[in-house]
Amino acid sequence: MVLAQRISHVQLQYSHTIGRGEQFGPGFTYPIHMARGEDDLMYVLCRSSEYRPEGTRVTVCTVDEEYVNAFARGVPQQGPHEYNFEDGSLVWPVNVAIASNGNVYVSDEWLHRISMFTRDGEYIGKWDENVGSGDGQLDRPAGVAIDADDNVWVVDGNNHRVQKFTPDGQFLMKFGSYGSGDGELDSPWGIDIDNQGNIYIADWRNDRIQKFSAEGRFLMKFGSSGSGDGEFNRPADVAVDQDGIIYVADWLNDRLQYFDPDGNFCGEKTGEATVSKWGKDKLDANPEMWDERERAPGLERERDFWAPTGVAVDELNRVFVCEGPRNRIQVFQKQALTFMGPRL
């Protein structure tokens, strides 16, 4: 008897987990998003919280979990109406992207600010902070992506649109408006650009992904509200690999879904986390916790995603999923196609 089994043509194999909860040094504090840099570097944006502002930062490490440095700290607030938003600091950082020269762009949805740093974390400057809805003005900027020409695309969350800027923040174009029709957006969050220059938007409150041309023309949409295959519960981020496979951080469904270039559902991952290197270091320093883990029922829960907000894919087809509440990033490796051909 021949066993026939339908397999998706996209296979993700779990690789490893990076991270542990830490306010300083090796570790993350609510990693909300990340970007892959040169030399296997990862720039992990840690949102942390107002009551632990020291944890708000960009942590730089390698895919092999070697800690490099951290920059752009949060700053404590002094009172209900007394703020300290000095240049280079972060309040509500939400997205990070890296330009071809290695410069790091960070969006901050409280400050309505795009800050720039060198690849080593030195503060370069910020775009003009023009809060509003006019051309070039931002209201709660969320996703950031950089195209092949180093132009910067910013998801303008409260304006329900996407804007394109030069690397130093000069307005170039925009598309999108509030609504649920084709090409319309509702509180969009994440963004990515494929190798054809097409734009993918996590249309957050419409529970769908939309694809636009580089000119801002609506091309495609997929997804609807729900928890079934191809359905979303507030998708936070989207990433597209070199083959056009689309990965979606399905935030409140606690999973990663992936789709073929036409938006057809290929599969999902609900998490396969294992103890990271940094995690092992922490447990080795607190050996009683190894024992507690042995006694704890339901340890398999540790594998599961919890509210992933960021997804990135690099040129080696490694898929990175940021899980803020768990202070970690799960890494998957996309496998080669099952049958590569051309001969049997």
């Binding site: 991270g19 909860g21 703020y83 309040v91 507690e292 704890a296 509440p325």
Partner: protein, 468 residues
């Protein structure tokens, strides 16, 4: 619309919620008192807070890993909810059924308990006690997970009777004996929680309640005069049908929603402040089959409630949340929320982290020289900020009275728009004199808003404003 209707609505909304703007009070008064009571008693009829937006901008509210973050979230909910009694009932039961962060160390677990209060807290008292008995935070907080069939830990059994359902005594008599405590503890053996996954490296995981039949004492027990092979559920059933349970719930309701009472330890020998009111509530407890919502309906529609305006010292939570709702601040998540929330702690109420299992001592015990300064500074800062939407609304209403307003109009108008506050004559006269000393008040002048703000600040600094 009669101002007395609005004044009564202000009273209801302060007690069954956290206060309301004058505009909301007018709308609710037009709807009617009893209709508003019904709406409050059925929070499911009103829209819920949009959690997705909150969690997007305050992502730590997803993980609920830190005490301050969880305090922020709850405070934010109390400020912005369209279902004020849902949060007030959660606060009510949190005052009584205390668990503390100092021991639990996982706010998400305590938030699960709060969610139980938001739902079961309106329902049958017996079911609520069952929810409490199987709540992992409580099982851990009061050590029932350390109580075993051959070595009982009495902590849960004792506090269930003393602080959660009966009280030490009433009408001069004890409600239970030491033997009852031990028998209750025996009945609850085997009611435990799962071992936790350690917090490193990826944070905590929720515990689950489990019943371990191998660790249950199946022997015969005699509890409150009844004998049988009782399990915990039997204990709860017996407790719920005691007259002392009705008295317990009634006095707590009265103390929280109507007027300050002596603290729980005094209830054995100190009669209720209003025995007739307590009797009405006790009767409704049994008539309704221990239904909390029914008791609240009787309470809010009663004359004893309507006549109890300004008979209660506001708790720190009521002070801060009520002020924010009044002025319209923090109607969206924003930085500064942590600092605002911490003032509740500085005023003496560390939400989710009470000083002991007995909870907070309420009434005048909220006030000392330190907490008084915190209260006045916080409320005065808020109402004096003329950029706040709610303060602007007060300024605009007063300004619409004519080209000038008298000092009396300024004082009385501010009192009215704050929610019909009442001052002693001597205090009111001093404020009128203060306004007189500033000269004629022209509503179109640049200083008008500032002077209104200053008058609001003076009012919230009075002794009377400590009450609700």
């Amino acid at each position: 619309m009669a101002e007395q209707d609005i004044a009564l609505m202000a009273h209801l909304m302060r007690r069954a919620g956290f206060g309301a703007t004058y505009e909301e009070l007018e709308a609710r008064a037009a709807k009617g008192y009893e209709a508003t009571v019904e709406e409050l008693l059925h929070p499911e009829t009103q829209p819920a807070i949009q959690d997705d937006i909150l969690m997007r901008y305050q992502p730590q509210w997803v993980s609920k890993a830190g005490l301050e973050g969880q305090q922020e979230e709850w405070t934010y909910r109390m400020i912005n909810t369209k279902r004020p009694l849902e949060e007030k009932i959660a606060l009510f039961w949190h005052h009584i059924f205390c668990t503390g962060h100092a021991k639990c160390e996982y706010p998400k677990q305590q938030n699960i308990e709060l969610d139980m209060f938001r739902t079961l807290g309106f329902g049958n008292f017996e079911e609520l006690l069952m929810g409490l008995s199987t709540d992992p935070a409580m099982v851990f907080y009061l050590d029932n997970c350390m109580s075993h069939k051959d070595a009982i830990n009495e902590n849960w059994g004792r506090e269930l009777l003393e602080l959660f359902s009966l009280g030490v005594g009433m009408d001069g008599n004890a409600n239970y004996s030491e033997d009852d405590v031990k028998e209750a503890a025996r009945a609850f053996t085997g009611w435990t929680v799962t071992n936790s996954i350690p917090r490193y490296p990826y944070g905590k995981y929720e515990a689950a309640f489990i019943y371990d039949p191998s660790d249950h004492d199946y022997g015969e027990k005699t509890f409150l005069g009844e004998t049988g092979n009782f399990n915990g559920e039997d204990i709860v059933k017996i407790v719920a049908r005691q007259p002392a349970a009705a008295r317990f719930v009634a006095r707590h309701m009265y103390n929280f929603f109507v007027a300050d009472e002596p603290q729980v330890p005094a209830w054995q020998n100190t009669p209720p402040r209003d025995p007739e009111a307590i009797k009405m509530l006790e009767d409704e407890y049994f008539r309704s089959g221990y239904d909390i919502r029914s008791m609240l309906r009787v309470l809010f529609n009663s004359d004893f409630f309507k006549n109890a305006q300004f008979e209660k010292v506001k708790s720190p939570t009521e002070t801060v949340v009520g002020t924010m709702r009044l002025v319209g601040d923090f109607d969206m998540p924003r930085p500064g929320l942590n600092a605002m929330t911490l003032t509740i702690r500085y005023m003496g109420q560390d939400l989710l982290n009470p000083p002991t299992v007995e909870g907070w001592h309420t009434g005048r015990e909220w006030i000392d020289s330190g907490t008084l300064v915190e209260r006045i500074n916080f409320t005065a800062d808020a109402v004096g900020n003329t950029s706040h939407r709610g303060v602007q609304a007060i300024i605009n209403r007063l300004g619409a009275q004519g080209d000038t307003i008298s000092s009396e109009q300024l004082v009385d108008g501010c009192l009215q728009l704050l929610g019909h506050y009442q001052l002693a004559d001597v205090t009111r006269n001093e404020l009128v004199a203060l306004a007189d000393s500033e000269g004629e008040l022209r509503t179109g002048s640049d200083e008008f808003g500032t002077r209104v703000g200053q008058m609001l600040q003076s009012i919230v600094a009075t002794t009377e404003y400590l009450f609700e």
